[in-house]
Amino acid sequence: MTDRQKNIPMDGRLQTEFAGIPFKNPVVLASGTCGFGRELNEYFDIERLGGLCSKGLLEHPHGGNEGIRIWETASGIMNSVGLENPGVDAFVEKELDWINSKDVVNIVNLGGHSLEGYLAGMEKLNQVDLDILELNISCPNVKSGGMNFGTETEVARSIVREIRRICRHKLVVKLSPNAQDIVSLAKMCEEEGADGVSLVNTFLAMAIDIKKKAPVFANTYAGLSGPAIKPIALRMVHQVSKALSIPVMGIGGITTWQDAVEFIMAGAKIVQIGTATFMKPDISMDIIDGLDGYLRENGCRNIEEIRGIV
């Protein structure tokens, strides 16, 4: 493990351990907003990040959704990309070595259209090195699978159990805010042996084109993210963090370092930055610097001193 900590900056105040994995800081880029890291590495050294979540992968390549894929709303965006991805094999062949060569925690996000699809993708990813497997049972933009596995606790249990049974990696389950009961869903993940949970994915949302008198999105509904969802995401992260003994990654509209402090005070071990990267590609760097400055100014020697204090 120690060879992973080559670049511990800023006197190590931001060092975080998540399920036994050391992160140089708690800032991670969220799945679907950073590709596989190459494009953003042209803007900043991605080794400054704590970690990076890959674009959601399926066993096989997938072309994603038809029609409009993005729509702005007050303080947010709705997306309907629909898990366009190159498939696990192409990811392993073309992207994995590059990400593993970087001193950043490599979190690979896996989705599926069916239980068989999840398991087949998992079997393939069991053959390779990665740091954390983020199991996506929360994508709202696919007709089969995705969020449909992740809204009812007992339906989700079957897939988390099956994946846990075969997954040889650290396993984090990414939860949907559209769950019937997100606390019971999260508790189930702990019961089934997950190493952590990440929440929230996007909120199921809608826009109507009043000129065309039709939904904006070909799938009718799409996923809402960005500052608009932050207060609800924060509440959910707070509730889940209090209820679980496994660690939580907080996600949902985090745009400033102050937002990140809120999520950490609510109990998140790690914060994931998603939509905000679209405002400014290197916004995660501002968040890391701001977090460190906050700890320094408040006389904190380590971020643990503010974790879960609210």
Partner: protein, 258 residues
């Protein structure tokens, strides 16, 4: 991470963001069109675009806008007010600051062997053709560049285009593609509404033109750098990213499929 075997020759090369630029002018041209000029060192090529932002968090997304004109020290953008972002851009005054992140995209191809080039634009899609006309003329003084401009109501910037091309044909309210004879050219370059570019592609096919047609696509974008797959388009070679693989494609790649 996971083992962390460094790949040889890897070196992060930050391209630098948060590029604050100073607005020199922001001139209304009528019909909601504006020409924004800003001080900004750049290597932009014709057909590339920048992500423009002149606000903090809202709207969430920056606006992808084509380069209209560029020299090493300044950049110009032609845009049309269609929503909140472009309305905010329209409010910029000389001396204001704006974030210009780019240049993005592949841009128009070099056409060193083309003696006659047609540039066909519609609406705000005429934007990247100005620098294209200048560039093609400059790179090959012997080539002739004809420009076809289509507008719904009032023509704009016609005199400017006349200064950088052999001939400018203007169509108002009709189909600018009617004016173009693909057989008269060695290459065609187009930017505008998708139906216009598609009609031009079909015309090229129908008259069996050998000349390649390049089209510059527009799509809604989020990141602008190839990371989010929001702007994917279908091509003969599978899904491609308009922001990174494009915005310029061969017409046959995007319109020559079912």
């Amino acid at each position: 991470m996971a083992g962390l075997a460094k790949q040889e020759g890897e070196k992060a090369a930050p391209r630098g963001v948060g590029n604050m630029a100073k607005v020199i002018s922001n001139q209304p041209l009528g019909e909601g069109f504006y020409l924004l000029r800003a001080e900004h060192q750049n290597n932009a090529r014709a057909g590339q675009f920048y992500m423009l932002r002149a606000w903090e968090q809202y709207p969430v997304l920056s606006r992808p806008i084509s380069v209209y004109d560029a020299d090493q020290e300044t950049l110009s953008f032609l845009y049309q007010v269609v929503g909140k972002g472009t309305a905010l851009l329209a409010g910029l005054k000389p001396g204001d600051t704006i974030t210009l992140d780019g240049a993005h995209g592949n841009g128009f191809p070099a056409l060193p062997d083309s003696k006659k080039i047609a540039l066909v634009g519609g609406g705000v899609g005429i934007a990247p053709l100005y620098l294209a006309a200048k560039t093609y003329q400059k790179e090959n003084p012997l080539c002739t560049v004809d420009v076809y401009l289509g507008f719904r109501e009032k023509p704009i910037l016609v005199r400017e285009f006349e200064a950088v091309s052999g001939r400018v044909a203007v169509n108002v309210g009709g189909f600018v593609t009617d004016e173009v004879d693909p057989l008269a050219y060695d290459a065609l370059v187009s930017c505008g509404p998708t139906p216009m570019m598609k009609a031009l592609y079909e015309k090229c096919v129908n008259v069996k033109a050998d000349a390649p047609l390049y089209v510059s696509l527009e799509n809604r974008m989020a990141c602008g750098i190839g990371a989010c797959l929001v702007c994917s388009c279908k091509t003969a070679g599978g899904n491609r990213k308009v922001c990174k693989d494009g915005p310029v494609f061969l017409g046959s790649e995007v319109f020559g499929i079912d």
